[in-house]
């Protein structure tokens, strides 16, 4: 049934047995409309059960299966074979997200990624008691943050960022997008607290508008745009505190 045979190269590594990461190849049947994830599952289910990867929803909303495919960070479930290869016999490469500690095969340790997320106080901070009904927010105010709320925290952006590679302590696009999402929420009163965190040597100013995050984002969020807005906000708030 399958229209072509593809060569799958996977960067494998199990620290329990292996000295270091190494590449392994597999022959896999594929259709143009198969997702990159389904090829991996074919390997895991039919060829080698020791292959380890995270997966869940398989349609791009849970953010489990971000990895480096053909040299770029993508969600395996959201990219199709036809967008990766030209035809029969071609090769697709899979590696874990760059610049992250590897737990096993394609699975990375995300504890540092989520530490950064927690650092930016990613929750609504409000002064005063909550009203009886919902807080009002105009469609325009809502539009300010809507793009940012699409984030699924898959980590593709942060691990695509050369600033993260150079300095793993860099907060990274995902965490700072969260900071943007709450700081620019018209209901939020916590801007100062959050800006204190992102306005740091390992924070906002290491965003050099490289756009790797935008390219990697499986939800097509214009991350750079929102981080620029956050920079302007941080800069003006610094100016007003000094004044």
């Amino acid at each position: 049934m399958a229209e072509m045979q593809l060569n799958i190269e996977i960067k494998r590594y199990n620290p329990e047995d292996d000295d270091g990461p190494h590449w392994e190849s597999y022959e896999v049947p594929a259709d143009p409309l198969d997702s990159a994830l389904s090829l991996l599952l074919h390997v895991k289910w039919h060829i080698d059960g020791t292959l380890s990867l995270r997966k869940s929803c398989a349609h791009g909303i849970c953010g489990s299966d971000a990895m480096q495919i053909n040299g770029e960070n993508k969600l395996a479930c959201s990219v199709l074979v036809q967008d990766l290869v030209d035809g029969d016999g071609d090769t697709i490469t899979y590696a874990p997200l760059p610049s992250a500690p590897v737990v096993k095969d394609l699975i990375i340790d995300q504890s540092r990624f989520f530490e950064k997320y927690r650092e930016v106080k990613p929750w609504l901070i409000t002064d005063g008691p909550a009203p009886e009904r919902e807080r009002e927010q105009s469609p325009e105010e809502h539009a300010m943050i809507e793009d940012a709320t699409k984030c699924i925290m898959c980590g593709a952006c942060t691990h695509a960022c050369p600033s993260t590679w150079a300095d793993p302590d860099y907060l990274g696009p995902a965490a700072m997008l969260k900071a943007y999402r709450y700081t620019f929420d018209s209901r939020d009163d916590g801007a100062e607290e959050r800006l204190d965190v992102v306005d740091s040597p390992d924070g906002l100013w290491k965003c050099y508008t490289i756009f790797n995050c935008n390219e990697a984002c499986p939800k097509d969020i214009d991350i750079t745009r929102w981080l620029s807005a956050l920079k302007r906000r941080a800069a003006t708030s610094q100016a007003s505190t000094k004044a």
């Binding site: 990461p21 500690p101 050369p162 590679w165 508008t209 756009f211 214009d222 745009r225 807005a229």
Partner: protein
């Protein structure tokens, strides 16, 4: 009981091999944004080096002999090549810098690719027009006087 959300019950052991994954530089597909950034850094560092040399050179202003010798040096072929490279670096760094300013200050992120190609075109024109005298002079020197077309000059 104290509640701590930060610490995992048991963190994975960091091994040397897993640290290997964390190189400062990663091989990654280069798209326009990353290309622009890499070139910006490269030209930027180059220009700082040039700036140091250039300012150092200014000390020659105090002494006629040194200054004249320096200017004479500037007219040697190797410096003509350097001059051209300088123009390329300055033009690129300036135009890409403009792109970054537009993105950061005016929120032109959605237009970043268009900006990249447009300003790339402008840079090419600047290099061609501004660099022509150097190319002309080099050509004259290499191929003999009168061998270069006298465009713009």
């Amino acid at each position: 009981m104290a509640v701590d959300t930060k610490e995992r019950p048991s963190a994975p052991q960091q091994t040397d091999a897993s640290a290997e994954q964390e190189g400062r530089f990663q091989s990654y597909r280069i798209r326009t944004g990353m290309f622009a950034w890499m070139m910006h850094r490269l030209t930027g560092v180059g220009l700082v080096v040039y700036l140091i040399v250039h300012i150092w050179g200014l000390t020659a202003l105090t002494d006629p002999e040194t200054f004249n010798a320096l200017i004479a040096k500037y007219h040697s072929p190797i410096f003509k090549v350097g001059e051209f490279a300088l123009l390329v670096a300055v033009a690129y760094h300036a135009m890409n810098g403009l792109r970054l300013v537009l993105i950061d200050f005016l929120g032109w992120s959605p237009k970043q690719k268009k900006l990249f190609w447009t300003l790339g075109g402008v840079t090419a024109v600047i290099i061609a027009v501004g660099g022509w005298p150097s190319i002309y002079a080099l050509g004259e020197w290499l191929l003999g006087p009168g061998s270069m077309p006298t465009l713009f000059l």
